[in-house]
Subunit: 208 residues, 2 copies
DNA sequence: CCATGCAGTTAACAACTGTTCTCTGTAATT
DNA sequence: AATTACAGAGAACAGTTGTTAACTGCATGG
């Protein structure tokens, strides 16, 4: 079988992950389009040519990072949608889960926010594609809820996109206060909550 | 006087503008953190060392570009706020003005969207600062309108930020369809309009 | 147990980068 | 008319980059 993991395959995947982690760390203070292949291998402690055993180019590395970063965010989205309850309670929960995720994977969030409109086309497209899937999922979930009963699918997708955008904007705000004072984080929490509340109010009166 | 423009000063500003224009063009398919000084001077047709007569570094160039790009967008914002009339009419007008601006200055819009979360700190901070000023202005304008009567300044600023973010998101969407089919542009126009309409509805019922 | 596959190495390449120093021509000042 | 200020040119620097080729060692499958 191809997925029987011997010592060989395991070691390969380990250095592959090391390359991705190193890249993510280097991307804290630059963007993907300026990330050099040698820079990454140097950080890992491996020969430059070893890079090619795992990725065709840094753009290819970037696409792999998109899958990793948005994969972890997708789990949060699942958590968000599985919840039920009062609207205000849902919003509070959403903001807190986002804050927790930013705390746990700040580099992932920074990468997505930075490369969503970044200078590397394949990466941009990968992100847009995944986010479109996110919006579809949220739209499908909204269809099961009473708040959007009687809505057209198109309108539901509009709202879903708005929520997804808001999720990323909120995550980005939390990222800026990641090693700032607690008061700032609290301010962002309240701000994000009110933003989503205003949207949910608009949603409640959409069909008037 | 220092601002008496002789032949000398005029020529200097001309090449300075040429450098900025060339940079903006090069940034269509990369981000600022990978933009090389030599790359820019080569595109203009001047010696690499001439760059230093105008900018300390490419980051410095970036900050100048922020002022240019957000300066032009600021004019659009002024147009938007000076208008009065029915809510739907205002939204239609806003979306059209944004579309027009993206058509007129696509490179400016791309630059702001890309570097807002980009890898060059001074540029990021310049953008965030200007956008905060935008939000303040919109907040002040909202205070004069009946829709937000009785709101706290904090809530008004929250709504203003939401509108500013939405303006940029809309501009970014238009940019993606910039040389696409007319049908796509129409779809984005309708989507952006509905997004803003939902927000304005939420605004109308905020104090319930 | 031996042959193969393949992750990773070493060395070398031409091309490119930012930065410094020195020089030149000419507009502006005196 | 003589002097100064300064935008831009030119050459050179040490260091970096992506990519190729031929290699080594070792886990794996027959």
């Amino acid at each position: 079988m191809s997925h029987t993991f011997g010592v060989r395959q395991a070691q390969k995947q380990r250095t592959r992950q090391a390359l991705m982690d190193a890249a993510l760390a280097l991307l804290e203070e630059q963007s993907l389009s300026s990330l050099g292949l040698r820079e990454v291998t140097r950080a890992v402690g491996v020969a430059p040519t070893a890079f090619y055993r795992h990725f065709r180019s840094t753009a290819d590395l970037g696409v792999a990072l998109v899958e990793e970063a948005l994969g972890s965010l997708h789990l949060v989205l699942g958590d968000l949608m599985s919840a039920v309850g009062d609207s205000d309670e849902l919003i509070r929960r959403a903001v807190e889960l986002i804050a927790r995720h930013v705390d746990a994977y700040p580099a992932h969030v920074r990468f997505i926010a930075r490369e969503r409109h970044g200078g590397v086309q394949p990466v941009r497209e990968a992100i847009q594609g995944q986010l479109a899937r996110f919006a579809e999922e949220v739209g499908d979930d909204l269809a099961k809820r009473p708040e959007t009963a009687g809505w057209s699918d198109d309108d539901r997708l509009m709202l879903a996109g708005l929520y997804v955008d808001q999720m990323l904007a909120t995550a980005s705000l939390f990222l800026e206060t990641h090693d700032g004072p607690e008061a700032e984080r609290e301010r962002v929490t309240r701000l994000a909550g009110r933003r989503m509340r205003l949207i949910s109010i608009g949603c409640r009166h959409w069909l008037d």
